[in-house]
């Protein structure tokens, strides 16, 4: 899914009727024709599966054939299932680390890319490029580099941890996933930071430098607070997206070694062919609740930003 931030429109003046005082005109039929097809398709493609998923999570369905309703059994079993717990542990840890790495690098790049540099347009274009490359494909490319080139490099410089493939290392494989995910996710965060920095009026800096503030000081006390809203947005959206980690993991480790890098999405999909259909539906439902909580935080965060 695209990296997206939503400022809820209700924060604008929309709560008030469009034309105050105007008499209620009849709604033209065409407007219904414009809206209803989308509503119907949306209901069939999104709402219906969601209801079906939640309902089936209370059964023992294997995806086909007969099933019984089993109440909360799946949810109770999940809580003590090491496979599911470890996938949540991995996914949340991975998302936290990645979101920090992505935002740190993207912010610093944005600061540089908005300064007086040469070839500004070309450099910006370069750093945005990874956004248009498919995650699974770049993961295969990096997978090759990690399992062939990097170990060779490690051996050459005699650095033990790199001398064998990181992908086969149960403790370190997740680093490769963070790296490739960041590689691909930095551009969208970068664009938001660039937009944020460019929206700061130049006079603010001029005034500050006249007062003799150092560059570091200006960064900390002007740029950072003024783009704080964007930082929050980027953190929330990034975290939400990284929780869905799938493509890049499939391309790099496919969840291994063992099950060290199995994400929640991978675990849920295993219910499709492995016979744990209803069980993974319960997992998906919990995952959905987490997404809802994050959405609440996101709304709050974006609302906060418009107050800046």
């Amino acid at each position: 899914m695209a990296t997206t931030a939503a400022a809820p429109p209700q924060t604008r003046d929309t709560a008030a009727p469009r034309r105050p005082g105007a008499t209620r005109r009849p709604v033209h039929r065409t407007f219904y024709l414009f809206l209803v097809p989308s509503l119907v398709l949306f209901t069939l493609a999104i709402t219906l599966p969601a209801i079906m998923g939640v309902t089936l999570s209370f059964t023992d369905s294997v995806g086909f054939g007969e099933f019984d309703f089993v109440g909360l059994t799946n949810y109770v079993a999940m809580v003590s299932d090491p496979a599911i717990l470890s996938s949540y542990g991995f996914t949340i840890g991975f998302a936290l680390v990645t979101v920090l790495v992505v935002n740190l690098v993207a912010f610093l790049l944005a600061v540089l890319l908005t300064s007086k540099i040469r070839a500004k347009v070309a450099l910006r274009a370069v750093f945005v490029l990874p956004m248009v490359i498919s995650g699974i494909i770049i993961a295969y490319v990096f997978g090759f580099l990690f399992s062939n080139t990097l170990p060779r490099f490690g051996q050459a410089i005699g650095f033990e941890p790199l001398a064998s493939s990181l992908l086969a290392n149960e403790d370190l494989a997740w680093l490769t996933i963070v790296f490739v995910t960041a590689w691909q996710a930095i551009p969208s965060a970068l664009l938001i930071y660039i937009a944020g920095i460019l929206s700061i009026p130049g006079e603010v800096y001029e005034a500050a430098s006249m007062d003799g503030a150092s560059a570091r000081r200006r960064l900390v006390s002007i740029t950072l607070p003024l783009v704080a809203g964007y930082v929050v947005i980027n953190l929330v959206i990034g975290f939400k997206n990284f929780l869905n980690a799938y493509d890049i993991i499939v391309g790099l480790t496919n969840g291994g070694p063992g099950t060290a890098t199995r994400s929640v999405a991978m675990t849920i999909f295993s219910g499709f062919t492995g016979g744990d259909y209803a069980y993974q539906m319960a997992n998906a439902t919990i995952f959905f609740l987490i997404a809802v909580v994050l959405a609440g935080i996101q709304l709050r965060a974006t609302r906060g930003r418009s107050g800046i």
């Binding site: 997206t4 939503a6 750093f127 494909i137 490319v141 990181l166 849920i268």
Partner: protein
Amino acid sequence: MTATTLTTTAAGQVPTRRRRRFTGRGGDEHPNRPGTVVLLVCSLAVFLPLYATVSMAFKTTQQSVNSRVFELPSPLSVEGFVEAWDLTDFPRGFAISVFVTVVTVVGTVVLAAFAAYAIARNWDRRFFRWSFFYLLAAMFLPFPVLALSQVKLTGMVGLANPVGVAVLHVMFQLSFSVLLFTAFIRGLPEELEESAKLEGASTWTTFRRIVFPMMAPMSATVAIFAFLASWNDFMMPSLIIADSTQQTLPVLQSVFQTQFSSNYNVAFASYLMAMAPAILVYLFTQRWVMSGVTQGAIK
């Protein structure tokens, strides 16, 4: 991890290096040369994997196994491309990817523009207002949550194919796109529409002749997002499409991963062919893409 090291050290240097430059924004000091250098070094992190892909793709199988990744291919060979083209049935995968992406982009722009126009111009009506929030809800529903049910439902109605993926792509893009369009339409002056209506134009004609053309910049943004989400998607087609001969380009790479085995030149040629279209489109439209994405992202 060469590339990481590069990025992090470069990033670490930033605060000290930019000492003189920050007066930059607004000031008229000399250009930030150290900053340019740092950025150039960082850009290696973007270029190296792409260079590796190109270089491996043009090697012979023999070279791709024996030589270093970053060594230039010599002689230049296209055997990898020829073999990948046949093995993965590239034209077919390409056609399917293009089909899914085009349907997604057109479907998203059209449906979202219609819906957003109806919502924005009838915001005082509860039905339209609630529809807006209803459509918005999907922005918080990640695909994994719906995947298992969607696999079943698409299968039951005969949509376990690229058409089904395109429909689902449109539906997942709808929320965000309606949000962008609605905000945009609110900013449009209503006078033109009113006068068109006074002259007797129908709502449909008004939309087609006046409103939709004015929405062009936002349509471009919506289209770019839809394009990126659809063209590069792996998760949804890999689960929804039942027949692997109807798969999209990204999924084909994983389908053939074992068959590439140690013919690295074939594998990389295949990756390159799958990445190239999006990169080419980007090179020609990058300013547009950047402004569009920024516009969309901070809305």
